[in-house]
């Protein structure tokens, strides 16, 4: 092949490679963006997790062959799964579905320690004092839909409260008078995000046809008050905004002009 032919061939092949890689990347980016995926305990933040996870499935092997296997109707309840095509989860990465297979929060955390890449790491499973335990996992947070939660209707339930491994910390029961009957009480479950590990035992236990309490990744479910609002009565919360910038200014079309102008010219006297 002459030099011209060689160069043409090189350019053609590179163009084909770039085009194919473009299509593959488009699929990868689309497939990567699944914000509702629940990860095993100790997972890095989703973006870093997807970079670091090599999709080997050792966590899934460890989960499936752990000591405290739970059986329902004689069948093993499977928690961690490795995403296959069609699961609507980034391909090959570990995840669990709380309604059908919640995390049973093994004390030894076999899945976490099976990870060879550090995508699951004890650092993400620590409390403020640096103690590592499954109780400090942040797999997600439970969210209640009051319109379908029968406790909010006034019926007696507390299934989620009793199923919760962090009972009285992650879910507490709030007693309120039921004014409709005048003689009964509402027993309302309240989720506390700081203690909730996102294990999903509540979602699995929920008695309604479609769970009224569901686990969502913390990134999705939790809001953020930001520096503008502070609990004035809470010393700890004040620490949070200690370094907040005071140099904030909101500019609107009206405030951008001189205020006097608005006073004098804003009104027509005819």
């Amino acid at each position: 092949m002459d030099r011209r032919g060689f160069l043409t061939n090189m350019i053609q092949l590179s163009a084909a490679a770039v085009a194919t890689a473009g299509v593959a990347s488009a699929f990868a980016i689309e497939n990567k963006d699944k914000p509702l995926t629940l990860r095993p305990p100790g997972a890095l933040e989703e973006d870093d997790f997807l970079k670091t996870c090599i999709r080997c499935g050792l966590c899934v092997d460890a989960c499936k062959n752990r000591d405290n296997i739970f059986k329902e109707d004689g069948k093993k309840v499977i928690t961690l799964k490795l995403a296959a095509p069609g699961d609507n989860v980034p391909l090959g990465t570990p995840y669990f579905e709380a309604r059908t297979g919640p995390c049973y929060m093994c004390e030894e955390m076999p899945c976490l320690y099976a990870c060879p890449t550090g995508a699951l790491t004890p650092n993400e499973c620590k409390n403020d004092k640096g103690k590592v335990a499954i109780d400090y996992a942040k797999m997600g947070v439970a969210v209640i839909d009051p319109s379908s939660c029968i406790a909010y209707w006034g019926l007696q339930c507390t299934a989620c409260y009793r199923a919760c491994p962090e009972m009285d910390k992650a879910i507490t029961i709030d007693w309120k008078q039921n004014k409709r009957t005048g003689k009964h009480a509402y027993r309302i479950p309240i989720v506390h995000e700081d203690a909730c590990t996102g294990c999903g035992m509540c979602e699995e236990a929920c008695v309604t046809e479609k769970a009224a309490i569901k686990i969502f990744p913390r990134e999705v479910a939790l809001g953020k008050a930001g520096d503008r609002y502070v609990k004035g009565w809470d010393k700890k919360d004040q620490q949070r905004v200690k370094n907040a910038s005071t140099n904030t200014k909101t500019v609107t079309p009206v405030s951008a002009e001189n205020p006097l102008q608005n006073l004098n010219e804003g009104v027509s006297w005819q």
Partner: protein
């Protein structure tokens, strides 16, 4: 029987590896756990797919010690001993593409391709680089989102989902569009192992004196561009880096003109006799 010695051995290793992964998941065996992106051998020795790890580096991941050790073990093994043996002795997608070649052979459609075969052979190297660079933009190992090797091993060891569709697509492509289309033209993992194993010790050696130019080897070889410069022309090792060391050419040769051999690293001795198989 000796006509299929290597073929049977290859199928045996391929199925054994898949079965060990399956056993690791279902019965908790500790012999070989994980899958072909990363495995733990005997619950101790890490093994990592170099291409997956390189993509992770490009994506900006922090690479753990286990991954580095695992990558080095695999790199050293294939660089020194195996050559591109991964593709024919380990990779399960090889089962699908070999089936497609088999269908082409028995139906006599060996040469009916939609695409220019010779020019397209180098595509995989461009694709290999492109997917590494794409990992930067995707922010994760980009090829692992479509890698059929991962899909196949996970389908066997973990759950299938629509994984079988990947394999059907590859079969259709290989059987009806382009002969050896996937493994011989596109797959960047194979391209990676070609580069890694280019200087390996075990290579196929050709003996010109015994060769009768029957062409059986060229007919059966999935990468026959590595054979054409040597067969019937000179007594030498098959040096084309894309040779997968599958040994099919050795088996089909009726003249004993091909065999596995250890090649010498010392310059000048290249053409001397030093076979020992």
């Amino acid at each position: 029987m000796s006509k299929y010695k290597y073929l049977i051995l290859r199928r045996l290793t391929q199925f054994t590896i898949l079965f060990l992964y399956f056993g690791a998941n279902v019965w908790g065996w500790k012999i070989l756990a994980g899958n072909l992106s990363f495995s733990l051998l005997f619950n101790k020795i890490p093994l990592a797919d170099p291409y997956a790890v390189f993509q992770m580096v490009f994506a900006g991941a922090v690479i753990s010690t286990d991954l580095i050790i695992g990558t080095l073990i695999i790199l050293l093994f294939y660089a020194i001993i195996g050559g591109r043996a991964y593709c024919s002795w380990v990779c399960p997608v090889n089962l699908v593409t070999d089936l497609a070649s088999f269908v082409r052979r028995i139906t006599n459609h060996q040469k009916d391709n939609l695409i220019n075969v010779v020019k397209f052979r180098k595509f995989r190297y461009g694709f290999l680089v492109a997917m590494l660079l794409a990992s930067i933009f995707v922010g994760a190992a980009a090829y692992e989102f479509i890698n059929p090797i991962g899909v196949f091993t996970r389908a066997v060891a973990f759950s299938v989902g629509f994984g079988w569709m990947w394999l059907v697509i590859i079969f259709i492509f290989d059987a009806f569009v382009l002969k050896n289309g996937w493994c011989g033209h596109i797959c960047p993992v194979g391209a990676m192992y070609s580069l890694i194993g280019s200087k390996s010790l075990i290579k196929v050696k050709h003996d010109k004196e015994a060769c009768t130019n029957c062409g059986e080897c060229l007919n059966v070889c999935p990468e026959n561009q590595v054979l054409t410069p040597v067969i019937g022309k000179k007594s030498d090792f098959i040096k084309g880096i894309e040779c997968t060391n599958c040994g099919r050419c050795i088996e089909v040769c009726n003249d004993n003109a091909l065999k596995f051999s250890i090649r010498s690293f010392i310059k000048g001795e290249k053409n001397e006799e030093n076979s020992n198989t």
